[in-house]
């Protein structure tokens, strides 16, 4: 057993302990167990990544480390194994998952301290880490699918952690089912992939693309189906509607699952299967479109949100849109880097938001906050650091990764100038909503009903500070990702020289715009012009939910409930009705009248005689 094989099982182990002894553990013990599970994983992944560097430094080949545990099942001749594979891409992922995960665990320990089901919560979190690690380490797509479903289930459990609120349960169910649609598409993609390549091992598939690539039609379908999986998990158009609702979960959950790790699984999947996507440029283009549209729509929606977490959720969608756009444009390294940095700063944002919410007695409406800069200065500064990274303020980690993505768009064969403009516009909107949030939340007067009670537990603050550091410096962490990805050779056309300065400048312009628009309203308890229908429209996520509800959910429910008593059963009832009707008809024969009986004798005789004659 090496560290690689053990890696996902540390959190699993701690999960088991926590779930079995759940109520019997006190806070300290549970915290130690939960943190040590993830912490051991983190240590192991640091160790592993070190080794990986050592290997990759010594040789040029982009070989990863593979550990096989057992054969899961056979698909014909192909063995589906439970095996883990570590290469720079998964190395980034496990580092993010365990590292950020660990920090969030720490925060969560403080955040959820009062909850009576604390250890169950930590158990779910640990289980999530385990599933996520399996997802990113999976050597084959079936195992990846296991992790994929596992994180979905954990997400369900954690969103609905406070299950007694009906709204939370609904949100959890929605999240699960919407992502499940994507999962199903992913599964179909796997079936098609297996049909074409006769294997589901990722490395084998990728290796095959060099020797005997997929036919373009197959690649088109497979890439499309995998994209379907990715948009489901990563909350991209058109399966994005679950993510804002998923904010019903405890804030650390939002930070861990719905910002840092799980939602980026789709990005990971597409990056992982880059070999397949290269065979289907159309779909790469579609990926770019998906990303760009999502980032715009999510940004617009974020502009109108009143709930601090929903703003962040839309922002997450938007940022993942950037990653998708990057992948679609062939900027894989940048996209994955953005994934990593996004994990840092978005986790930071969510956690600081969590700290605010905790202090504000679970008040999440930004119009009932305000003036927090004075009352919670440390938290506010940390939050602004996160925001800075989010809008790619120069010098932050977000700047590094986002600029890298935007920089490659203009020339990309699968993207192009249009996408560049969309990305820039997205960046502009990002700044706008970010600073709307900042101004309304931190400036002006405090407008909440209850007095603030800032928590000062060290577990609350230490992770925040560390994340803040990462949010600033995380962009410079070396990743070695170039080894993994096939470089997309860009055409030689020169991109205009003003691109870069516009990209950097526009977000800063947006800050000014936001100042002009929103700062005066920093004292408002209502979003003033917000009574307009446009505002409502964008607050409701541009009507996607309503459309789906009217077109899909309602008809389905109605149809199902309509047929609740099973129309087919009517057939059976028809038969039995028939029998009983004939029974009562036949009973008329048995009238008890002797003369009629004699007549039946005559009738019978006549019938028989007729039968003879014919």
């Amino acid at each position: 057993m090496t560290a690689l094989t053990l890696l996902p099982f540390f959190p699993l182990f701690s999960f088991l302990i926590l779930i079995i002894f759940s109520k019997r553990l006190n806070w300290q013990l549970a915290t130690v167990i939960a943190l040590s599970g993830v912490g051991l994983s983190f240590l192991a992944s640091v160790l592993l990544i070190n080794d990986l560097y050592a290997v990759s430094q010594s040789s040029d080949i982009s070989a990863g480390v593979r550990e096989s545990l057992w054969t899961w099942f056979m698909l014909g001749e192909h063995e589906v194994q439970v095996a883990f594979f570590l290469d720079p891409l998964s190395a980034v992922m496990i580092a993010v998952v365990t590292g950020v995960g660990w920090l969030i665990h720490g925060f969560a320990a403080a955040y959820m301290r009062e909850d009576e089901n604390y250890s169950r919560f930590m158990a779910y979190m640990n289980l999530f880490i385990c599933a996520m690690l399996i997802l990113v380490l999976a050597d084959n797509l079936v195992l990846l699918y296991l992790g994929w479903e596992g994180v979905g289930l954990c997400s369900f459990l954690l969103i609905g952690f406070w299950y007694q609120e009906p709204g939370n349960a609904i949100a959890a169910r929605k999240a699960f089912i919407v992502t499940r649609i994507g999962d199903t598409l992913l599964a179909l993609g796997l079936f098609y992939l297996f049909l074409e390549t006769n294997t589901l091992n990722i490395q084998e598939i990728l290796a095959q693309q060099d020797s005997s690539p997929l036919s373009s039609e197959a690649a088109w379908w497979i890439a499309l189906l995998l994209l379907g999986g990715a948009v489901g998990k990563s909350a991209q158009l058109p399966l994005h509607t679950w993510l804002p609702d998923a904010m019903a979960g405890p804030t650390p959950v939002s930070a861990l699952i719905h910002a840092a790790t799980m939602v980026t699984a789709g990005v990971y999947l597409i990056a992982r299967m880059q070999g397949v996507y290269l065979q289907a440029p159309d779909i790469l283009n579609l990926v770019a479109w998906t990303g760009s549209l999502t980032l715009l729509i999510a940004g617009i929606a974020a502009l109108a949100q009143e709930d601090i977490k929903r703003v962040l959720a839309y922002s997450t969608m938007s940022q993942i849109g950037y990653m998708m756009l990057g992948l679609g444009a062939g900027a894989n390294v940048a996209a994955i880097t953005h994934l990593m940095t996004h994990a840092f700063f978005k986790a930071l944002l969510f956690l600081t938001a969590g700290a605010i919410i905790l202090a504000a007695h679970h008040q999440q409406n930004i119009f009932h906050m305000g003036g927090l800069l004075k009352r919670m200065p440390l938290i506010s500064i940390l939050f602004v650091i996160g925001i800075a990274a989010l809008i790619a303020f120069p010098g932050t980690s977000g700047f590094v990764s986002k600029e890298a993505i935007i920089g490659q768009l203009w020339q990309s064969p699968t993207a192009g100038p249009a996408f560049w403009w969309m990305a820039i516009l997205g960046a502009f909107i990002t700044s706008l909503y970010s600073f709307r949030l900042v101004f309304i939340t931190f400036f002006g007067q405090y407008r909440g009903q209850h007095e603030l009670h800032p928590q000062r537990h060290f577990l609350l603050l230490v992770p925040l500070c560390m994340l803040a550091v990462l949010a600033i410096l995380g962009g410079y962490i070396p990743t070695n990702l170039e080894q993994v990805f096939v470089a997309v050779d860009a055409p030689d056309s020169q991109s205009p020289s003003w691109l870069h300065s516009v990209a950097i400048g526009l977000p800063l312009v947006a800050i000014v715009v936001a100042y002009v628009i929103y700062f005066p309203r920093a004292n408002a308890t209502e979003p003033v012009p917000g009574k307009g229908s446009l505002y409502r429209f964008s607050r409701n996520g541009l009507g996607f939910d309503a459309t789906y509800d009217a077109l899909l959910v309602k008809p389905f429910v109605k149809l199902a409930k309509l047929n609740r008593h099973d129309a087919i059963d009517l057939l059976v009832q028809l038969i039995s009705w028939n029998a009983f009707t004939w029974n009562s008809a036949a009973k008329a024969i048995q009238s008890g009248r002797l003369r009629w009986y004699a007549a039946t004798l005559g009738i019978g005789t006549i019938i028989l005689l007729l039968g003879v004659m014919l």
Binding site: W72, E77, E149, R180
Partner: protein
């Protein structure tokens, strides 16, 4: 001898419990459980002694029975039978465990029925003579019907009659087909025979073969149950006592699948190929229809019952796609569904004992008072909607992978059930255990014996889900009827 011994032991214990049981009703569960465990032990010993021979059918006992018609009492065993018999015995234990507190009256007759039903089911899996097969096929019905009719819920008589008439009428069709086969054997080989192995030599002309196949298929489709023959199942499952539901869903439905695998596919190769499009369509409709209907239900057990229809649709789909992967998938699905639906029905029974209702609208928020039960329910629901790591996923995945090659459209349609199952699964779990608890609803968490049965089922689902090869390694890698050329796909 081994299967005969098991049947004999079960019958004997059944009789004993009937006769002396009225005085010792407390100890009856122990007696029954003891006999089941003994049988399981015998089976395990037999399996370990004869490890290598399961690939081929291994004839066991054969004694002349009805000489004038060439009917023998003949049994045999192969991997398929073995797995199903083992599954039956495991679920038998589950049945006994769920019955401990539930059955309040006439214990002796109850355990008599339970054990004879088990004996009948094992007989079905053991029979090598088609007459014997039919005999057991019907014998298992009787005690099952009695279980529903006596210990069932409010609408039990309707359900029992419906169940019985459905299966009986359809099986008469099969009986006709069986007799015709025997006569054909007489025509071709001079002597009348009901022996399965003799029949494999038969040379059947096409339209005739098709009709015969249909006779068998309808009987098995009713048992399976496949759309549109499914309507007995929701009623029977809902009204049966918990053990009855467990037995019905866990094993009785599997006899239909077993029949398809054992008789329909190998004996009527040409006809099945010709029939495959219809069967696949029925399978897909069952899958989707079952899932949609499950969502529409508000009765816990009815919901699970419809989900069974959906799951067994996968078996039909798998078997008629003639792909070895899908065939293995069907085997896995059979076992998986046996365990998971048994588990869900047990949960329903456990809940019913505490709440005296099966209505989801009257549950809700139970997680607060019974978190362990909720956890277990979640696991079983997860199994039902195909959570990877649990056995059902492997079955579904293999089925769909195998089917995709030859029937992509059907596979895509069937895959929508993965969404559907998530919908009804969530609906079930959240409806019962999440949400606001009803005022004053406090239920006791799992008791020791309930823990035992839930744990047993969960452990099996998990173990087999992670190591499904331990099931599948006993099966040949190729599909039994792989020599048929199937158009439009590679295996």
């Amino acid at each position: 001898m081994i299967l005969t011994n098991i049947i004999a032991i079960l019958m004997l214990v059944a009789l004993v419990s009937l006769i002396i049981g009225s005085k010792f009703s407390r100890s009856l569960p122990y007696l029954a459980a003891g006999s089941v465990v003994l049988c399981f032990f015998l089976l395990a010993r037999f399996a370990s002694n004869n490890h290598d021979i399961f690939h081929q059918a291994m004839p066991l006992l054969s004694v002349p029975w009805i000489t004038s018609l060439g009917i023998d009492y003949a049994t045999f065993i192969d991997s398929l039978s073995f797995i199903l018999v083992a599954l039956t015995l495991i679920l038998a234990l589950v049945c006994i465990l769920v019955s401990v507190n539930e059955i309040q009256h006439h214990h002796n007759f109850y355990y008599f029925n339970l054990l004879t039903a088990l004996a009948g089911i094992i007989g079905v899996f053991a029979a090598a003579d088609l007459f014997l097969f039919f005999f057991f096929w019907e014998v298992m019905l009787l005690p099952m019907t009695a279980l529903i009719a006596i210990w069932g819920h409010e609408n039990r008589r309707y359900a029992a009659i419906k169940f019985f008439i459905f299966t009986q009428v359809s099986s008469l069709l099969m009986l006709v087909a069986i007799i015709i086969m025997a006569f054909i054997h007489q025509q071709q080989f001079g002597e009348i025979s009901f022996n399965y192995f003799d029949w494999q030599r038969l040379n059947l002309s096409m339209p005739l073969q098709y009709w015969l196949m249909l006779g068998f298929f309808i009987a098995f489709a009713v048992k399976l149950p496949s759309f549109p023959f499914h309507t007995w199942l929701p009623d029977a499952h809902t009204q049966a006592p918990t053990a009855g539901s467990v037995l019905l869903a866990g094993v009785l439905l599997k006899t239909g699948a077993y029949g398809l695998m054992r008789f329909v596919l190998p004996l009527f190769e040409q006809a099945t190929v010709e029939f495959a499009p219809i069967a696949i369509a029925l399978g897909v409709i069952s899958i989707i229809y079952g899932a949609v209907m499950a969502f529409a239900q508000s009765d816990f057990k009815r919901l699970v019952a419809y989900s069974s229809i959906s799951h067994m649709g996968f078996v039909t789909l798998a078997l008629f796609s003639f792909s070895s992967i899908a065939y293995h998938g069907a085997i896995v699905t059979i076992v998986a569904h046996g365990l998971s639906s048994a588990a869900l029905f047990s949960m329903a029974g456990i809940l019913y004992q505490r709440l005296h209702t099966r209505e989801l609208s009257k549950m809700g928020g139970l997680f607060a008072s019974a978190p362990r039960m909720g956890g277990m329910l979640l696991v079983f629901v997860a199994a039902a909607f195909g959570m990877p790591g649990l056995l059902n996923f492997v079955g579904e995945f293999m089925t769909l992978t195998g089917t995709f090659a030859s029937h992509p459209v059907a596979t895509v349609l069937a895959a929508t059930a993965m969404i559907g199952s998530a919908i009804y699964g969530m609906y079930l779990f959240q409806g019962s255990f999440q949400g606001k608890p009803h005022a004053g609803v406090q239920i006791a968490d799992l008791l020791a014996h309930e823990w035992l049965l839930c744990g047993l089922l969960f452990a099996l689902l998990l173990y087999l889900g992670l190591f499904p090869q331990s099931l599948l390694m006993h099966f040949e890698a190729i599909y039994p009827a792989a020599n048929i050329t199937v158009t439009g796909g590679k295996l």
